[in-house]
């Protein structure tokens, strides 16, 4: 009787929906698991840090996933845009520091200097993206092997140029005064910049989704991800759209780099490679070409990284590879990717 009743409810609400809901509830529940080993206060601190890291990862993963989905280009130079953004942001903040707008700034000055650093990193990232797309990647459309090889080389060159211009050593990134320190909410220490990073990440996610869902450009991009030829047949210049998307992705990665620098308060020439690894894991978890998938994947990776880094520091990257492997095992095309 009991089982019949359950079946009836399942039928009434549509069995698939219930199963989907159960799936997502379980998926959400997993993130409470670390509570068994971490006390709640620390858990909340780590959660905020994890979300902040996830948002910043999302900034570079979003570009990577759209570029792959639309252009079928795997851009391994994406991490280099990220590192360039960080270094440009570093220079901007250093310059502003000379004006007293960073270390001893008022609230307004702090916000302006952070925004300025982000904006310049955005522009520089976009500019580099434009050059890379027009000069190099355009020549290797449709050839995965060459794309991977050549973007790897480009990434190497860009990282080396960073070392030439800024020197090969780690640098300390200045953080404007209003973003230093932390809030204390009922014993939970929340770093101010982490809050800013979460807000910025959510804004970018909202913005990207708005463009993708509500504008004509977004419709063209989504149609292009589905079927490039048809979009071309309808008279849109797909090459111009490719370039635009590539620039946007590179710009987001550059901005993410600048924010990452302020988040970690330290930048290194190798940070691009590190970020690329994370972004690739995020994109695989989320599914190629899916922005929301990347967003979820980035949150997962950020949270898992922080919990495990607290419990077993050495395995922090390993756990993300493990998550990736498990997800590929269950859903080979990623969380929200298209089934092929």
């Amino acid at each position: 009787m009991a089982s019949q009743a359950t079946t009836a409810t399942l039928d009434a609400t549509g069995g698939r929906d219930v199963r989907e809901i159960v799936f997502w509830v379980c998926a959400g529940g997993i993130w409470l698991l670390p509570l068994m080993a971490i006390d709640p206060t620390t858990y909340l601190v780590l959660t905020v840090a994890g979300f902040a890291m996830g948002m910043l990862l999302f900034l570079s993963a979003a570009g990577l996933t759209i570029i792959f989905g639309l252009m079928d280009v795997l851009n391994l130079a994406h991490g280099a845009f990220f590192a360039w953004g960080a270094y440009v942001g570093f220079s901007i903040l250093n310059a502003l520091s000379g004006l007293g707008w960073v270390e001893s700034a008022t609230m307004g000055q702090s916000i302006v200097s952070v925004l300025l650093a982000m904006a310049v990193a955005l522009v520089v990232g976009g500019g580099l993206g434009l050059i890379l797309e027009r000069v190099i990647i355009k020549q290797v459309y449709g050839d995965h092997l060459k794309q991977i090889l050549i973007t790897m080389g480009a990434s190497m060159v860009m990282a080396e140029i960073i070392k030439v211009l800024w020197g090969p050593n780690n640098e300390v990134m200045l953080v404007p005064l209003a973003f230093q320190g932390s809030y204390d909410v009922a014993d939970v220490v929340i770093n101010k910049f982490r809050v800013a990073a979460i807000v910025a990440g959510l804004l970018v996610y909202g913005g990207v989704m708005l463009v993708m869902l509500k504008t004509k450009l977004g419709i063209i991009i989504r149609a292009g991800v589905e079927n490039r030829e048809v979009v071309q047949t309808l008279g849109y210049n797909i090459n111009r759209i490719f370039t635009g998307v590539f620039i946007a992705g590179a710009a987001l990665a550059g901005m993410g780099g600048a924010m990452w620098g302020m988040f970690r308060e330290q930048i290194t020439p190798a940070m691009g490679d590190e970020n690329l690894i994370f972004a690739l894991i995020v994109v695989i978890i989320g599914g190629m070409g899916s922005v929301t998938g990347s967003f979820l994947g980035a949150c997962m990776v950020g949270l898992a990284f922080n919990y495990v880094a607290f419990l077993m520091p050495k395995l922090a990257l390993g756990v993300n590879i493990l998550i990736m492997a498990i997800i590929l095992l269950i859903r080979p095309w990623g969380l929200l990717g298209r089934e092929q």
């Binding site: 092997l145 080389g153 190497m156 080396e160 894991i281 990257l317 092929q340």
Partner: protein, 368 residues
């Protein structure tokens, strides 16, 4: 037997088989091996011997990379990692044993092969189910993870300091065999010849593999996946086989590398620069040519040894501007530029271009 009973492929093979000892390429190979064997006797400088030994080791590693990259068309960023697994197997077995014997080296080689097979199968099974391109991404992540592990699992790997170890018996650098025909016999020389023999065997193994029926199937998978599937080949099985074979050879090359240096650390055998070097060697030598591996390995190893000095000397002639000085320190930058240019404008590599020229000349002769 009348020729009609053979398929065209069989006929071509028979023809190749009959003339294999008289072709110029065979003579070049023999000459090459003789040269390599003579080098320590003729040029007694250690630096030359070091460069030549590294060229031999990398030629094997790159040839095995070519199986995956050139013959199967799959990009693996973990080839350097497998190299490192082999190197660390030898190093750790010899380090953790108070008095290593010869059989420990065999044991370590076996360990390297088992380890790399397991890792390669796992990564391949997980990623190839979806798309071949996933393999590139997963190997990148896994290789980075192992690199970090090499740094941080310091109970096992000694972390950043690396592992330096002693080799058994006549392989030890302290062994002294006295004079023989005017040459000082020592452990280094013995290891050199050991590397020569093993790398020739491994290289011939790779050549045999790509010319076997399996190698032919791999090429067909690379050129047209769907058609190979339609012909009834399990594409994924062949891909996994190729990845595993290439990775195992790479780990053995890594073991040789550890033998030669009697020292390993995470950056030299697990780091990204190693993997990039290997990629560069494959591309410069020529994808899908196997023998290109020798050319690529020789070119990169020699450049890498002399380029920094050359750049420093070159900058000495220029006005002392700081930016120029820094540029001279960053010779990887020039490597990267060369790499991008080669991929763009010279995609067939040295051996590929030579083969094209030979083929074109043969075609012209047939016409005439």
């Amino acid at each position: 037997m009348p020729a009609a009973e053979f398929t065209p492929v069989q006929l071509q093979r028979l023809r190749e088989h009959a003339g294999r000892y008289s072709r110029p390429s065979f003579l070049i190979q023999i000459a090459l091996v003789v040269c390599l064997a003579a080098i320590p006797l003729v040029v007694p400088s250690f630096r030359t011997m070091d460069v030549v030994a590294k060229i031999m080791i990398f030629a094997v590693a790159v040839a095995s990379f070519d199986i995956i990259l050139g013959y199967t068309g799959i990009i693996s960023f973990a080839h350097g990692m497998f190299f490192g697994l082999g190197a660390y197997s030898i190093a750790l077995v010899c380090y953790h044993h108070p008095a290593p014997q010869y059989y420990h080296l065999l044991l370590a080689a076996g360990l390297a092969m088992v380890l790399s097979t397991v890792v390669a199968v796992l990564v391949a099974v997980f990623s190839l189910r979806v798309k071949a391109i996933f393999f590139a991404m997963m190997t990148l992540a896994v290789a980075e993870f192992v690199h970090i592990l090499g740094y941080q699992w310091s109970d096992l790997t000694m972390g950043e300091d690396g592992v330096s170890f002693k080799l058994p018996g006549i392989l030890a650098s302290t062994w002294d065999g006295g004079q023989f025909l005017g040459t000082q016999l020592n452990g280094r020389l013995v290891v050199y010849y050991l590397i020569l023999v093993i790398s020739v065997v491994l290289f011939l193994g790779v050549v045999r593999f790509v010319r076997s029926p399996v190698g032919r199937v791999l090429k067909s998978v690379r050129d047209n996946e769907r058609r190979s599937m339609a012909l009834g080949y399990k594409v994924i099985h062949y891909r996994i086989l190729s990845i595993v074979f290439g990775s195992v050879i790479s780990s053995l090359a890594g073991a040789l590398f550890a033998l030669w240096l009697s020292y390993v650390n995470p950056d030299t055998v697990l780091g990204t620069p190693l993997m990039l070097n290997m990629l560069l060697m494959v591309i410069i030598g020529g994808l899908g040519t196997v023998y290109g591996g020798i050319v690529g390995a020789a070119f990169i190893t020699i450049t890498e040894t002399w380029l920094p000095d050359l750049l420093k000397a070159g900058v000495g002639l220029l006005p002392p501007v700081e930016l120029l000085q820094r540029l001279a320190d960053r010779w990887v930058l020039f490597f990267g530029l060369a790499y991008v240019l080669v991929v763009l404008f010279f995609p067939k590599g040295v051996m590929g271009t030579i083969r094209d020229m030979v083929a074109r000349r043969a075609a012209a002769r047939e016409k005439a």
